[in-house]
């Protein structure tokens, strides 16, 4: 059952999710999105420009974090607004373990017209990688 506006209270916690990001995932996202910036697949270039390693596309991290909201809302079309700040890169090592992204979400406000605001927290290695990550979901 999709959540209804009247059933949801401020402070409600959405089911948390964790995502493993490996190099192959970045290659796939690059192809699907059209963002072929070399820092997302070439370690030599990434480290030469001062990054710790190949880093995940910010947009890939943003899309993964949205899963917490779209899975909860059931209809992804209910997400009417979604915004983030990219505050810290997610380095993705060249191994089988990859990088772990952990995402939690909380209903932070009930808005007009059957909408709620969900605040997301996305962390990697204990540090937040997205700032002011907020989604407005239409539960009407």
């Amino acid at each position: 059952m999709a959540p209804g506006y009247d059933d949801v209270e401020v402070g409600h916690e959405l089911p948390a999710q964790a995502f493993t990001i490996r190099r192959g995932d970045l290659v796939r996202y690059a192809g699907a999105s059209g963002d072929f910036n070399v820092i997302h697949w070439n370690q030599r270039v990434a480290t030469a420009v001062g990054l710790p390693d190949v880093i995940a596309h910010g947009m890939f991290t943003m899309a993964l974090a949205a899963r917490v909201v779209t899975d909860w809302a059931q209809d992804p079309g209910r997400v009417v607004e979604y915004g983030v700040r990219f505050t810290r890169p997610v380095p993705v090592p060249d191994d089988d373990d990859g990088a772990l992204l952990e995402v939690t979400g909380t209903v932070a406000a009930k808005l007009d017209d059957g909408r709620v605001r969900v605040d997301l927290t996305a962390t990697h290695a204990g540090a937040k990688v997205l700032g002011r990550a907020q989604a407005v979901v239409d539960l009407a």
Binding site: A32, T70, G77
Partner: protein
């Protein structure tokens, strides 16, 4: 050299139409590892009230990233793309993008500001059908890192 803030407000010509296909949406959802049936199964999308398969909330970046090249390549701005970092991103949807849409993107440079030796540009990309129906607006803040 800092980017001249007087360029704020500049609007670029609308992009050529982008035809949204069901297989492109599926490819994007697959790349996210997201099995949501609304992204690949027409009947599942219809059961949710959508006329066709819908795209994930961040899918419009496929169109707006491409369209923003007109701004990034604008010789007046003189942006060194190798110094560009994605600072912020936001989407405001009137409705989800869906298979069968034919969409144009109109890019506007909304704000230009400089701080700490970096330039920050916020662009707004208005995505509409060729018939003029608004679908989604995306804001991207790009940080052009200063030299040294």
């Amino acid at each position: 050299m800092p980017i001249d803030p007087s360029y704020a407000g500049r609007t670029y010509p609308a992009s050529d139409p982008y035809e949204v296909g069901v297989e492109k949406i599926r490819e994007f959802a697959d790349a996210l590892g997201d099995p949501n049936p609304a992204y690949r199964d027409r009947e599942a999308a219809r059961a949710l009230g959508h006329p066709d398969v819908i795209a994930p909330p961040t899918f419009p970046i496929v169109l707006t990233h491409r369209a923003s090249r007109t701004l990034i390549d604008d010789p007046d701005l003189g942006i060194d793309y190798s110094r560009v970092v994605h600072g912020e991103q936001k989407f405001a949807h009137t409705r989800p993008v869906r298979a069968g849409d034919s969409l144009t993107v109109t890019v506007t440079l909304e704000t230009v500001r400089s701080a700490g030796g970096h330039d920050m540009l916020t662009s707004r990309s208005d995505v509409a059908t060729v018939a003029g129906e608004h679908v989604v607006t995306a804001w991207s803040t790009l940080v052009v890192r200063g030299e040294g």
